[in-house]
Symmetry: none
Subunit: 413 residues, 2 copies
C-alpha cells in the first residue's frame, strides 16, 4: 500500500526549518504496513500544491499533506484543496466549539482569522484536532485518500497516531509488517556486523535486517511483511533467540525504547532513586530523565554546577581539589557524585564534568574531554572520554554515555 | 533562478534518517541568490529518479542530486544518469588517484567495489571530491545543469561550498534574494495578522511576508528577490521601520535567533548572571541555556528539585508553605526563586513548579497547571499558566514562556 507525503511551506524551501515531520511519519507509516514512495516539499503556491498532488496520485493510493493550514494569508492549502475537489467552504459548529474551548484555556479571545479555521470543505470528512485550531480534512476520491493536517509537529503526531493511521488501516487493511528491535550496546556498527555475519547470512529471505547506530547503541531492526502473521512472528522470535546467544549481555533491550525510559523502569522496579550533578551536560541528563512520565517516583533532582564555586558550595567539592586537579578531573567528578548522593539522598548518582567547547580547551584537556562518574555512594565508576569538537554533540554523547553506564551498573547488581 | 533538490535513498523514505542536507543546501542556495522550488526524496529506483529529474527540469534550471552514489549495489544514481544523458562510463585516472590516496590515509586497501568509483560518465564534467571516494558529476543540457553529489553531509557541504555554488553563480549570475526576520512576542499568530493587516496589505508586491509561529513567538519573515540589491534592501528596511512602529516592544529581535541566545547576549552585555530552580521543567531551561557556547560566563547553575524535600533542603523553601499551599503554588515558586538567587548568588532567577502530567492532576490543579517566577531577588514576577495535557509540550511551553518572561523583564530594566 503506497503513500506519499507532501510538506507545504516556504520555510522548508528556504532552509529555515528542517523537515523532521516526514521521517517521523515515514517510520510510523512503515510500522503500520504502508510504504512511503516519495516525499515532496513545495511552496505555499496553489499551482505547486496541485501539481504535486496530481503527480503523487499517479503513484500512490494515499497522499498526506502537512502544513500550510494556519489562519494567515500565506497558508493556502485549504483553498487549493477546495478548488481541486470542487468543494465549498462551510461552517462547522464542532470545529468552532473546539477552537472556542482552546482559546478559553489559553485565555485568548476569538478573532476573525481564527474563526475562519471553522470554515471547512463540504466534501471532506472533518477530523477534530483537540490540540490545535486547524482541523484535519480527509478527502476520498476514486478509492484514493487525500488528507491535510497541521505541520506543527505535536499536532501532526497526535493526528497521525490517533486518527489517520487507524483510519487508513481500516480502509486499506495493508499487509502486516512485523518489526522487532534489539538495542545492542558496546559494539561499533561495523564490529557488530562482523560479529553477527554468519547469523545475518543465514537469515530467511523474507526477514530484512537494518542497522541503526545512535551513539553507543546500535538498534538492530528485523522486519518482515507476510500474510501469515503467526509464522512470521515465530520465525522472527526464533532468529532473535539465536542472536541473543551470540550477543549475550550486549543486548540491553528487546524493544525500541529510549535509554531514559529503560533506566526509569529499572529504578522503579528496584525501588531505587537517582540524582545527577551536572557540569558540562548543563541539565540535559535531568531533562532526558524527566521527559519520562512518572519519573518523580525515582528521580530526586539535580544540581547543575556551572561554576567551581557552586560545585563547592552546593555539592561540597573541596576547593583545593579543584585547584589542584582542575574542574575537569576524575577527583572532582567523583566528589560531585558523592556530594549529590549525600545532599539529595539518592541511591544512584551520575556526575559529569567536561569541556563541551567550542572554547575552554587546552593542550592537556582539549575540547571534548569529559569525565563521567556513575554508581552508588559505595561503588562509583569514573571514566574519561574524548568526544568531539562540537558542543551539542558533546553534550548529547556525554548524556547518552552516562545513561548507558548507569544502565550497565544497575543491571549488574 | 530556480533550483530543485532531489535526495535519493531508501533510508529517508523509511524514516531511518532525517534529511538535514536539504535545509542546509536551501539556506546556502538562497544566500547565493537561488530559489529552491521543490525538494523531492525518492527511493534508489531508476524509474523514480528519472521521473523526478524530468519533472524537476520542467520547473527549474538547476537540479541537484544528493545520495545514491556509493559503491554498493543499491546505489544506482550514476547508472541512471548515464542512461538519461546517453553517456558511457569511462575510467578517470584523477578520480582513481584520489581514491588511492584516501584509502592510504585510512589504512585500507583498494577493492573491486571501490575501484568502480573511478568509472565516470563521459558526458559529464567531473569535479573532484578530496574527502570522499565518489566524485561529483556535472551535466550540462540545453542551458540547464544537473549535478550529482554524495549524500554524506560533510562531503556534500564541501562540494556545495567550494565547487557547486561558485560554478552555478558564474554560469547563471542569479538575482539577490534578501531575507529579514523579526521575532514578535505576545501575539498569537492570528491576532498579530489582524494587528498588522493594513501594513501587510500595503506591502509592495515584490516583498513576500511569512508567519512562522513557535509557542509564544511569531517569526515574521520578509523576503524579496530583486535586481537592484540596494533599493530592495532599503525597501525592506523601510517596511520594518513601519512595522516596528505598529508593534513596539513586541519586537524582541530583528534576526532569526533562538530565545536562549537572545537571553544570553543580554545577560552578557549587562554583566548579569542567571540561575534556575526547576521542578516541572526538570532541567530543560538549564539545558537550553547551556547549549549556547560561552554560557558559563553568565549561567551559574541550577537546582532541579523533583521532590518537596529537595525544595526545602537545597532551596530553603519552608515546609509549612509547601504543606499549606502545595508544591504547585505561587508561594512555593517564589520561595524557590528566592532560594536559588541566594544559594547560587545569581542576579536573575527563573523558578518553575507545575503538573507536567500525564498523572498528578487534581480538580483544583489539573495537568498543565504551571507557576513560573522570574526576576531578581528584589523584584520577582510570578504567573500562573494553564498549558496542555501533554507532558513534553508542557515542559517545552514552560521553558519557552519562562525565557520570554526573563527577556521582557531584562529588557525593561
Amino acid at each position: 500500500m503506497q503513500v506519499e507525503i507532501i510538506t507545504i511551506g516556504d520555510e522548508i524551501l528556504i532552509g529555515q526549518i528542517v523537515d523532521t515531520n516526514s521521517a517521523w511519519m515515514a517510520t510510523e507509516l512503515n510500522k503500520a504496513g504502508f510504504e512511503v514512495v516519495q516525499i515532496t516539499s513545495v511552496h505555499d503556491s496553489e499551482k505547486q500544491i496541485t501539481d504535486a498532488l496530481e503527480s503523487a496520485l499517479e503513484r500512490a493510493e494515499v497522499v498526506l499533506f502537512t502544513g500550510g493550514i494556519g489562519p494567515t494569508k500565506d497558508d493556502i492549502t485549504k483553498l487549493t484543496l477546495c478548488r481541486y475537489f470542487g468543494a465549498e467552504l462551510v461552517f462547522d459548529a464542532g470545529v468552532y466549539a473546539n477552537i472556542e474551548n482552546l482559546l478559553k484555556n489559553r485565555m485568548r479571545a476569538m478573532n476573525e482569522l481564527t474563526k475562519t479555521q471553522a470554515m471547512v470543505p463540504d466534501k471532506a470528512v472533518i477530523i477534530s484536532n483537540p490540540i490545535g485550531t486547524a482541523p484535519i480534512t480527509w478527502f476520498n476520491k476514486d478509492g484514493k485518500v487525500v488528507v491535510s493536517m497541521p505541520g506543527v509537529p505535536y499536532e501532526m503526531k497526535r493526528a497521525m497516531e490517533f486518527e489517520i493511521i487507524p483510519r487508513l488501516q481500516k480502509q486499506f487493511q495493508p499487509q502486516a509488517i512485523i518489526h522487532k528491535t534489539l538495542l545492542v550496546a558496546g559494539y561499533p556498527e561495523s564490529a557488530l556486523a562482523l560479529k553477527i555475519a554468519d547469523w545475518e547470512n543465514a537469515l530467511p529471505e523474507q526477514i530484512h535486517l537494518a542497522y541503526l547506530p545512535h551513539f553507543n547503541i546500535v538498534k538492530l531492526r528485523l522486519s518482515a511483511a507476510q500474510d501469515d502473521f503467526v509464522s512470521t512472528k515465530n520465525e522472527i522470535d526464533r532468529q532473535i533467540t539465536l542472536l541473543k546467544v551470540i550477543l549475550g549481555n550486549a543486548v540491553i533491550a528487546e524493544e525500541d525504547i529510549v535509554l531514559e525510559e529503560l533506566v526509569g523502569r529499572h529504578l522503579k522496579a528496584a525501588g531505587k532513586t537517582l540524582a545527577t550533578a551536572e557540569s558540562c551536560t548543563g541539565g540535559h541528563i535531568a531533562h532526558r530523565i524527566t521527559t519520562i512520565a512518572g519519573s518523580s517516583a525515582y528521580f530526586r533532582g539535580s544540581v547543575i554546577a556551572y561554576s567551581n564555586e557552586i560545585k563547592s558550595r552546593l555539592l561540597g567539592v573541596d576547593e583545593q581539589v579543584i585547584n589542584r586537579h582542575g574542574a575537569v578531573s576524575e577527583e572532582v567528578v567523583r566528589e560531585m557524585a558523592l556530594g549529590v548522593a549525600d545532599k539529595l539522598s539518592a541511591d544512584y548518582v551520575i556526575a559529569t564534568s567536561g569541556i563541551a567547547g567550542p572554547d575552554g580547551g587546552t593542550d592537556e584537556k582539549p575540547v571534548g574531554t569529559v569525565w563521567i562518574a556513575v554508581g552508588t555512594k559505595d561503588s562509583l565508576v569514573s571514566r574519561k572520554f574524548q568526544f568531539s569538537l562540537d558542543r551539542q554533540l558533546n553534550i548529547e554523547r556525554t548524556t547518552q554515555t552516562a545513561l548507558l553506564m548507569l544502565m550497565q551498573i544497575a543491571n549488574s547488581e
